[in-house]
């Protein structure tokens, strides 16, 4: 009947509850505050636009990307290609596309204004000016990358894997920023699908670039994965109805080498047969056969677990950009599982997510959080560095990252990624050719994801060219030229 003691312990419980309340408030605003503020539903931002002249948006070198004219309307540079190249990452001013202008409204519209700025406004009688924002991208690099997409559809993203800075992000088809203020009224209709930022929200079949994930799963769950060999016979056969693996593939083939009725095949590109290969070699030549066997041996559960650890199927909560993650489903049958292991079936990846995984491989297993904000400059004050590199998640163990680096180096040196080589630098990467249709006349997507293994030039890249053809043939050279340009511009 020790009422006193009970009351005291309950008091402690109450105090803990209140402490929980206060700390949750701080935690949640710290984590999501900017995200909530920049929400397109936040009318406070819209009302502020009438009170404040929005600041400029520039790239890391100071190139002007967006500014306000005398009437307060938003103006963009005359260079048409530049505008198209940065349209997605910059975003429009009306909240239709969630780019930098919406994200950093807090700075652009002066919500972070100090007291002296407000005082100055009072004294001068002019409308207050928001802060200028410097993005981490290099405008010329974006423009170059956009030109390399050469009128096709696709996405290119270049990141610094040591700091997480986004150095270039461009997607095509693009839209006209200067006309976006007439979008809501219907006067301007951009090309269909052009408002989607394919870098962060383009959900593509990854093709062989997904073998990165399968390889990681093999490293984690298959004993002796780095030393053993796999036998590539050029073709795996499955029963068409049940999807079960058929032991003897020769039964499934007819005279022309096509599939007999009742059988479905898994083949390598161009029908190649690789023979006995190690994991590293299979990776470098992108052997579907070997990776399908690996997938069948692992089982959907393990691959799914690894995929989830790498962020697939989850939600990215980044401070400065919104990015969709990929998704993975192991399928119900052997056939589906085998294809999911080589990046087909229902596998989905976004270029940003792929680049993030590549960054982790390049950075010893640690993926840095993608950063877009480089500096801010309040009117009257000088520029204030705003880049705060932070690790997002440790995706891989150090030795796993090292091994994958080796694989990716071999791919570019002597595998499917030969066209990604750059003189004087070691490029590592993985190509991908993603089949998107059973029809013969639809070309697959061309993927290349990779990085430069050099501490002075820590650049990672991911290129997707929709219906571009072979990853090694089409995407790799694009990646090489963009990386070369990056080295040239960023030195």
């Amino acid at each position: 009947m020790n009422t006193s003691r009970n009351m005291k312990s309950l008091l402690v419980a109450f105090i803990l509850l209140f402490a929980l309340l206060a700390s949750y408030l701080v935690y949640v605003v710290d984590l999501y505050g900017d995200y909530w503020f920049a929400s397109p539903y936040n009318t406070r931002v819209t009302t502020q636009k009438s009170r404040v002249v929005a600041g400029d948006v520039r790239d890391r070198n100071g190139t002007l990307l967006a500014s306000s004219d005398a009437d307060g309307a938003r103006v963009y540079p005359n260079d048409k290609t530049l505008c198209l190249a940065v349209a997605h990452i910059l975003g429009d001013n009306g909240g239709q596309t969630l780019g930098a202008q919406a994200r950093f409204a807090r700075y652009l519209l002066g919500f972070d204004a100090q007291l002296d700025a407000r005082l100055e406004e009072l004294l001068s009688g002019e409308k207050r000016r928001g802060s200028d924002v410097y993005l981490s991208i290099d405008a010329k690099l974006c423009e170059y990358a956009y030109e390399r997409l050469d009128g096709g559809r696709g996405a290119i993203v270049v990141m610094n894997y040591k700091t997480g800075e986004i150095l270039a992000s461009t997607a095509a088809p693009s839209f006209d920023l200067s006309k976006m203020d007439r979008f809501a009224s219907g006067e301007y209709t951009p090309e269909e699908g052009s408002l989607v930022n394919r870098v962060t929200m383009g959900r593509y079949t990854p093709g062989s670039t997904f073998k990165l994930v399968t390889a990681i799963a093999a490293l984690r769950y298959l004993p002796n994965a780095t030393e053993r060999t796999f036998r590539c016979t050029g073709c795996l056969a499955f029963d068409e109805k049940t999807g079960k693996l058929v032991g003897d593939a020769s039964k499934a083939l007819d005279e022309d080498g096509g599939a007999r009725d009742g059988y479905a095949l898994l083949r390598d590109f161009d029908g190649e047969v690789h023979g006995e290969v190690t994991l590293e070699e299979a990776f470098a030549v992108s052997c579907n056969n070997a990776f399908a066997q690996i997938a069948l041996e692992l089982g959907a559960g393990k691959i799914k677990a690894v995929a989830e650890e790498l962020g697939l199927g989850g939600e990215f909560v980044f401070n400065e950009i919104i990015a969709y993650s990929g998704s993975y489903d192991g399928g119900d049958t052997d056939f589906e599982l085998a294809w999911s292991g080589v990046g087909q079936h229902t596998d989905i990846m976004t270029p940003m997510h792929m680049c993030l995984i590549t960054c982790a491989v390049a950075n010893g297993g640690v993926a840095m959080e993608p950063k877009l904000l480089y500096e801010t400059a309040s009117p009257g004050e000088g520029a204030r560095g705003a880049l705060a590199s932070e690790a997002y998640k440790t995706l891989l163990k150090g030795n796993e990252a090292d091994f994958l680096k080796k694989c990716m180096r071999l791919t570019v040196e002597d595998g499917t990624g030969k066209k990604a080589q750059i003189e004087g630098y070691t490029v590592c990467g993985k190509t991908g050719t993603a089949e998107v249709s059973a029809r013969a006349d639809v070309t697959p997507h061309a993927w290349f994801t990779g990085f430069i293994d050099d501490a002075e030039h820590p650049y990672a890249i991911c290129v997707v060219i929709e219906n571009g053809g072979g990853g090694g043939a089409v995407a790799a050279p694009v990646a090489a030229s963009v990386l070369e340009k990056a080295i040239e511009l960023l030195d």
């Binding site: 009947m1 020790n2 009422t3 006193s4 003691r5 009970n6 009351m7 005291k8 309950l10 008091l11 109450f14 105090i15 509850l17 209140f18 929980l20 309340l21 206060a22 949750y24 408030l25 701080v26 949640v28 605003v29 999501y32 505050g33 900017d34 909530w36 503020f37 929400s39 539903y41 936040n42 009318t43 406070r44 009302t47 919500f111 972070d112």
Partner: protein, 414 residues
């Protein structure tokens, strides 16, 4: 030594008065024209607080001064925020505060002789149940819950007073007997009240009632096992409610992802979060935010408005003030030698604690939102008067504690 010399709280009281002055002087200049009524309002509020302070100390000489000042601060904050959103509602609130102040003094006076309250246990219990049943038939609906009664043009919420009566009833029951068997009538009473509240769709109040019961139960008996059993039963009841009621499902869905359900149930939470984020650490400034965008910005969501205009640092300070109120309340309960008074006081402190936690937790998306008010700050006469009564009970018990102690001191050294 034969007197208790209380600590001087003059400086803290002055700080509160300065706060009021600052708020209302600022408000007088908002909106372009000079609003003299704001200054008058602020002055009235200050006078009311001083008058209340003097009356309280006259009626209950050893009342808890610190508690009084904390409550005065919260009520004044509420007034300032209400005035900022509309002068008429602030005036209404001031009137209610006047009545509340009187209720506080009455409750304090009554608690100096707790036997009075104890005798009233059964009548209180029956009246509460009757009122709640009557509400089922006569009650008007507002905001999804059918718990308002209109009397002479004034809308008020009897369920707020039922909560206070519940504390007295439970404290009385737990003074008499401490075995679970002897407490069965109390348990049944609580279940009855909770069920009636659920039927009126006032789920927040039902949760509150159950919570206060379990807290008092543990405080009085110390039976951890039985308490956890009760907690589990409550959890099961909540889950059953989730399955049975669609609007509970909507609430939980809105809690998990307000942006997904933005156009329907998530709107309120999303707007609240955007408001809190817009304020940042130091706030937009009084009068510079946009509270009108948030539904229920006067009542349930005042905390979001406070965070938007005064800042998150200030918001945390407000949480700290509530925590201090609860601490003082528990100290009063611990100092009481009379079991009934002690339990009453503890019940009052728990009521404030649980209600504050539920509403602030709902606003910051820690737990699903329920429709209850923020004590002292929210707009709402019944809520304000009920909580003033609660504070009155605490002050009464504190006064009794002080008087008893002084009696002992004087016994040997008059």
């Amino acid at each position: 030594m034969n007197r208790i010399r209380h600590v001087s709280v003059a400086s803290v009281l002055c700080a509160v008065l300065v706060f009021i002055a600052a708020c209302f002087i600022l408000l007088a200049f908002s909106g372009g024209r000079f609003d003299g009524a704001a200054l008058l309002f602020g002055l009235l509020l200050c006078l009311l607080i001083i008058a209340e302070y003097i009356s309280l100390l006259w009626i209950a000489p050893h009342a808890d001064r610190i508690l009084f000042i904390l409550i005065a601060f919260l009520t004044s904050l509420g007034m300032a925020v209400q005035y900022r959103m509309g002068a008429e509602s602030a005036l209404h609130q001031l009137l209610m505060a006047l009545i509340g102040g009187a209720a506080l003094c009455v409750a304090a006076a009554v608690m100096k002789r707790p036997a009075i309250l104890r005798v009233m246990s059964i009548p209180f219990a029956l009246t509460s149940l009757l009122i709640l049943v009557a509400l089922l038939f006569v009650g008007k609906e507002s905001g999804g819950a059918r718990n308002w009664i209109s009397v002479g043009g004034f809308l008020f919420q009897p369920s707020e007073f039922v909560k206070v009566a519940l504390i007295a009833v439970l404290a009385g029951a737990m003074t008499r007997g401490l075995t679970v068997k002897k407490l069965i009538p109390a348990i049944l009473f609580t279940l009855g009240v909770a069920a009636l509240l659920v039927l009126q769709r006032d789920l927040g109040a039902a949760m509150l009632v159950a919570g206060v019961f379990l807290i008092l139960f543990y405080a009085a008996t110390g039976k951890l096992g039985a308490t956890f059993l009760g907690l589990a039963a409550g959890g099961a009841g909540a889950y059953a409610g989730y399955l049975a009621f669609d609007h509970v499902k909507a609430r939980v869905g809105a809690w998990l992802d307000p942006w997904a359900t933005y156009s329907t149930s998530g709107y309120q939470i999303a707007q609240g979060l955007m408001a809190i984020a817009s304020g940042g650490l130091w706030g937009e400034g009084l009068g510079l935010g946009s509270p009108g965008l948030i539904p229920a910005y006067r009542t349930d969501y005042v905390f979001a408005v406070i965070c938007e205009e005064f800042g998150i640092v200030f918001g945390i300070g407000v949480i700290a003030v509530y925590a201090l109120v609860v601490v003082r309340g528990v100290m009063i309960a611990l100092a009481s030698e009379d079991r009934f008074s002690s339990l009453c006081a503890f019940g009052c402190a728990s009521l404030v604690a649980v209600q504050t936690f539920i509403i602030i937790g709902g606003v910051i998306k820690l737990i699903p939102l329920t429709g209850i008010t923020m004590p002292f700050v929210s707009y709402g006469g019944s809520s304000l008067i009920a909580f003033m009564t609660v504070v009155g009970i605490l002050q009464g018990v504190a006064a009794r504690n002080g008087a008893e102690l002084e009696k002992k001191l004087r016994e040997a050294a008059p």
